[in-house]
Amino acid sequence: MGLAKRIIPCLDVDSGRVVKGVKFVDIRDAGDPVEIAKRYDEQGADEITFLDITASSDDRETMVHVVEQVAGQVFIPLTVGGGIRKVEDIRRMLNAGADKVAINTAAVFNPEFVKEAAEKFGSQCIVVAIDAKKTSAKGEIDCWQIFTHGGRKATGLDAIEWAKKMVAFGAGEILLTSMDRDGTREGFDIELTRALSEAVSVPVIASGGVGHLDHLSEGIISGKADAVLAASIFHFGEYTMTQAKQHMQQAGIEVRL
């Protein structure tokens, strides 16, 4: 017995409302991030991640209020990603009650930002989010590259090397999303997850592609991830967090039940 593998539901928030649709039978307002976070907490989520996809910076303040409200009612770790570009953005989210921030694009354009952030706030609260896509052809040695802008823009950066660099710069955790799998419900990119998880010393959260509970276990067992992140399979009420954890436990994975 020891450290449990984590399940992390992810909520996309746009101007203070959860988008992509979340359905719980007994929640009247399914778009309220506070209500949804409370529900996931009751079901046994190990952490909750909010991804702020608000386009206009005017509405960013809304996310701060969401975090404040959730942090006052939900006593598990909270991560906020999206729009984290400056030290001030991090400070604001941490003061609002977030425990970690996920830095994505800003890290690609300014790697020193990760260093600065880790030195200021400690590695434990700096998650670097990596969006990777396979760029090697069939038969070639596997290779994945970092993409930005929702997977549209290639950066030429090798995902594994980039992850190692981010850890050296102070990232305390890596949130790895396969852009090939995201939204497909075909399961994680296991090769990518394992290659990256074995290459870095910090915990890795696998993301992108979960469509079935078996996928969660695969991410942990075959992908060697330390945590798994999923959105839609929980949002639409297909499975509860408890079912997911029981399923993982049956696969021999240590979970918090």
């Binding site: 017995m1 020891g2 450290l3 449990a4 593998k5 984590r6 907490d41 190990d46 404040e68 942090a71 006052g72 009612q73 006593f75 598990i76 770790p77 400070r91 941490l94 003061n95 609002a96 009650g97 425990d99 706030f121 400690g122 590695s123 434990q124 609260c125 305390g172 955790e173 074995e198 010393s201 910090v202 915990p203 890795v204 060697k224 330390d226 945590a227 918090r256």
Partner: protein, 214 residues
């Protein structure tokens, strides 16, 4: 009046712990303070921990809070959390070695880099991050209502090695077996974050609010 002072030594993010205490506090007054006199006046003290140990100790010294904290640990219930627990030990290996407050005997050490899972399949990740079990090594009021081996949320790269077995209240395994809770007299110190450990964590905080030391 039951007043709980949360020590603010400038590292931020005391929102969660204050909210958690408000929730379980039975109308206790929760104050966040960087004033020694507030710490002196309070009926209990929570010493939270975020960031690096050097910043923590320097913050305490800059604000002249070290003595107030040491005094508090003699007089009233004090709960030290995470880096707060590490800060009450003798010294830490972090930041190339830092002298700590020396309220409890022991050292703070970096987890070894070459720890493996029991099946030897994978290397253990550092930081130790997530929900791990705490074994109650001794009975204590703060464990009241919390099942043996309950899971709490940890996030740390350094761990406490106590020099005195008799002060260990809880232990946890992650590659090595380390002290996840220590207690001596009025002081209870935990490596995990009770304010982030859902039911078990809130239960511990509630016990702290109601703990009266003889």
């Amino acid at each position: 009046m039951n007043t709980i002072a949360i020590i603010d030594y400038g590292m931020g993010n005391l929102h969660s712990v204050a909210k958690a205490l408000e929730l379980v506090g039975d109308n206790a007054k929760i104050i966040i303070t960087n004033q020694a006199r507030e710490i002196k006046k309070a009926s209990r003290v929570l010493f939270p921990g975020v960031g690096a140990i050097r910043d923590c100790i320097e913050g305490l010294n800059r604000l002249a809070l070290s003595e107030a904290l040491k005094e508090a640990a003699q007089e009233k219930p004090v709960l030290a959390v995470c880096v707060g627990m590490q800060a009450v030990m003798n010294s830490s290996e972090e930041n190339n070695g830092v002298d700590c407050l020396g309220i409890l005997p022991g050292q703070v050490k970096l987890f070894p880099v070459d720890m493996y899972t029991p099946d030897n399949e994978s290397r253990l990740k550092i930081p130790h991050m997530g929900w791990n079990q705490v074994q109650h090594v001794k009975d204590h009021f703060l464990w009241k209502g919390i099942a043996q081996n309950s899971r709490f949320y940890f996030v740390h790269s350094y761990y406490v090695e106590s020099e005195d077995e008799s002060i260990v209240a809880g232990s946890t395994e992650y590659g090595v077996k380390f002290s996840s809770a220590l207690t001596k007299d009025n002081l209870f110190a935990v490596q995990f974050h009770p304010e982030k450990s859902q039911h078990a964590g809130l239960a511990l905080l509630k016990n702290f609010v109601n703990w009266s030391v003889e």
